[in-house]
């Protein structure tokens, strides 16, 4: 090693350089440490606290008489919780699938080197810039049978036209899907568009030379290579679906009745306004378990696939 034979003066310089190197190595960790600490405390610390509370008999304020899993038993005996959980499956499933399909189709169409692509892209992406509260209010007006779409079509002379999903307890959950898809599919389109642009044109040309038709190129070559994008999109959409709260509050208020209750609104109502902190915490933990049950296997298969692929 050349450093072994260097003069003392250059040794000092080397020492300084290694000090700088040392700082360079440590500094990022130092900078990240506080936010890591904060995240650990406020995310995982509070998760743990919520879990502890879910084992207690807490009502209006937290208290620590442990009752085991009694709150979970009560939760699953609760009619409203079943409605909320079923709604999440319906809403989440339809929302994620519709956003993916619509986003992908829009992206493919926009990718055909059309004119005014920038303008169109902006138009589709715009809903994402709105807060969910605004989306909810706008759609509440549009879907209100006496004000919105139904009233407008009837005004055109179609007196029998009926579109009253918002006030129909069986259909109201689908109004949430409509509004949420309207909001998020433009964003998914942008993700897919970026993915499509990253695919090398030579792939298309080679496939075309081999005589593959355009739909075949998309289904066999393009879609498989978009897999990481689908992965990110599902991650983002899934967490939007599970934490959906503001949209429900603004669009339906959980009604009619509690027909559009989601676990997040259930948790809020019981923990904060009904003085049942124990039960609310149990529902929060069940939401966490739901997320983990979906995400962990998915993450595992995706990340393992990447490593080997």
């Amino acid at each position: 090693m050349p450093s072994n034979v260097s003069a003392p003066a250059s040794g000092e310089r080397r020492h300084r350089r290694s000090l700088a190197g040392h700082i360079e190595r440590v500094l990022p960790r130092l900078v990240i440490a506080p936010s890591l600490g904060v995240a650990l405390f406020f995310v995982y610390g509070y998760m743990l606290w919520t879990f502890l509370l879910s084992l207690t008999n807490s009502r209006m304020l937290p208290q620590y008489d442990f009752v085991g899993f009694a709150q979970y038993a009560r939760l699953f005996a609760n009619e409203r919780w079943h409605v909320a959980a079923t709604n999440l499956v319906v809403f989440g499933g339809l929302f994620i699938v519709s956003c993916l399909v619509i986003g992908l189709l829009l992206a493919i169409f926009l990718d055909q080197r059309i004119r005014q692509e920038g303008t169109l892209r902006t138009i589709y992406l715009y809903p994402m810039a709105l807060s969910l509260i605004v989306t909810g209010v706008v759609w509440r007006w549009l879907l209100n049978p006496g004000l919105g779409i139904q009233a407008m079509v009837r005004g055109w002379g179609f007196e029998d036209f009926t579109f009253n999903w918002l006030v129909d307890s069986d259909m109201a959950i689908y109004t949430l899907v409509i509004a949420a898809v309207w909001q998020a599919s433009g964003f998914v389109m942008a993700l897919f568009l970026a993915g499509l642009r990253s695919i090398d044109d030579s792939l298309f040309q080679a496939a075309a030379l081999d005589g593959a038709s355009l739909p075949r190129i998309y289904t066999r070559i393009v879609l498989p290579s978009l897999r990481p994008v689908v992965f990110s999109a599902v991650m983002i959409l899934a967490h939007i679906a599970i934490k959906s709260f503001d949209l429900v509050m603004a669009l339906t208020g959980g009604g009619p009745g509690y027909a559009t209750d989601l676990p997040a609104t259930f948790m809020y109502a019981h923990t904060f306004t009904r003085g049942q902190i124990g039960l609310g915490s149990a529902s929060a933990i069940m939401m966490l378990c739901g997320v983990l049950a979906i995400l962990v296997p998915y993450l595992y298969s995706e990340l393992r696939g990447q490593r080997h692929g």
Partner: protein
């Protein structure tokens, strides 16, 4: 520039001195809308006349849900306000947890027991000691009617039985109006239901069902009949009730789109704001079969346990002001309720308030004074929530039978205990 600095410093100093001598109490309340805010300001001014400082802690949001959430977090962090607006059984809960103080001294000095109705005051006492001061009495069982719409539909008076009501509703519908204005929110559904039920079942039945939550009463024939009548009311409303606020529904009566609304007497504020006079431009009548009944909703100010002598004095002063005759008249005129003091003359009040007081006296005599469940006066939060869930779901689900709903009431209430 220098003078400004000097002035500012002087003002700061003056403020500091002022605070050191008089007690500052923080008051959490949700009197934030028009008339209510005016009423709260009045209280603040009167407290400041006594040399104390009112630190305003207003949390908007109907029925105080958000205010209660804030109060809980403040109490948890060991820093509750000195005074908070709390209602009904919740006062008891806070008292049982040891958060509330004792204002018996003020009660004795002013002789509260002589002029406050026992039934109302029971909720303000914890273990026999005053922990809160009642401010007003709202009556829930009212129909607000537009006489022009009724007349135009050929209905000559506000219906007094439910049969009459449904007949009238048909006529009103034929004349092109909406018979009953309503907002599809759980608390409004529950308000209408409890009014229907107290009319059909009477005071004792109401207490058994909605105060004691007695399973036998909840599954009785009277309950089933009440549920069926309630469900039938859905047909007298329009299709767009989902999520509508109560005051929007009131404005439908004001604008002559709808004939009637079942709502507590705070609705009066909307009519007054529209420049309408009771008895002339609008009518206030008891809903069918509840004429001699009175379902009440009372606002109370609960006093939290504070160590500081000055603050305790300020709490007692505030309580005396609240129950002073002057304040009772001014506050309740602004808020639409009636004074909680029985010895206050209602000469300066409007016709509806006078009718409310008469109904109150009759109900007291006939033992038909009942706490409103829909407004958090009868049972705990969690039980109220359970009742709301069932009632609102039954009302909105065309297929649910009254029998199913009454069984669900029992199981939901049991689950919430």
């Amino acid at each position: 520039m220098k003078t400004i600095h000097a002035l500012a410093a002087g003002a700061l100093l003056a403020a500091a001195v002022g605070q050191a001598n008089a007690a500052e109490i923080e008051v959490l309340h949700w009197w934030t809308s028009g008339g209510e805010a005016k009423a709260a300001k009045l209280l603040k001014e009167k407290l400041e006349d006594k040399g104390h400082t009112w630190k305003d802690f207003a949390v908007a949001g109907g029925a105080g849900d958000s205010a209660m959430t804030v109060l809980k977090s403040r109490a948890l962090s060991g820093n509750p306000p000195a005074v908070a607006q709390i209602k009904g059984p919740l006062i008891q809960e806070w008292g049982d947890m040891g958060f509330l103080g004792n204002i018996d001294k003020a009660a004795e000095a002013d002789g509260w027991d002589d002029f406050l109705p026992e039934e109302i005051v029971a909720a303000d006492k914890v273990d026999g000691h005053y922990a809160a001061v009642p401010v007003n009495i709202h009556r829930i069982n009212w129909i607000w009617a537009n006489p022009e719409v009724l007349e135009d539909s050929g209905v000559d008076h506000v219906p007094q039985t439910w049969d009459e009501f449904f007949d009238a509703a048909d006529k009103i519908r034929e004349a092109g109006y909406i018979p009953l204005a309503h907002g599809g929110q759980p608390w409004q559904d529950a308000t209408v239901f409890e009014v229907v039920m107290m009319g059909i079942g009477g005071g004792d039945f109401y207490r058994k069902a909605f105060v004691d939550l007695d399973p036998e009463a909840l599954t009785s024939d009277t309950m089933i009949e009440s549920l069926k009548t309630f469900k039938k009311l859905r047909g007298t409303m329009d299709d767009n009730i989902a999520g509508r606020d109560w005051n929007i529904a009131t404005s439908m009566v004001i604008n002559g789109k709808a004939a009637m609304q079942i709502m507590g007497d705070w609705a009066k504020g909307e009519f007054t704001a529209a420049g309408m006079m009771p008895g002339e431009d609008y009518e206030c009548v008891a809903p069918p079969m509840t004429e001699s009944m009175f379902s009440y909703n009372t606002d109370s100010l609960a006093m939290f346990d504070v160590d500081d002598e000055g603050q305790q004095q300020a709490q007692r002063d505030l309580a005396s002001i609240v129950l002073s005759k002057d304040f009772q008249v001014q506050f309740n005129q602004a808020k639409g309720s009636i004074p909680v003091r029985l010895d206050v003359s209602l000469d300066d009040f409007d016709a509806c308030a006078k009718a409310s007081r008469e109904a109150f006296d009759v109900a007291l005599d006939e033992d038909a004074l009942v706490p409103s469940l829909a407004h958090g006066m009868a049972v705990s939060d969690s039980q109220q929530g359970a009742v709301f869930d069932v009632i609102t779901n039954f009302f909105n689900d065309p297929d649910m039978k009254a029998e199913t709903a009454s069984e669900r009431l029992v199981s939901a209430i049991r689950a919430a205990e």
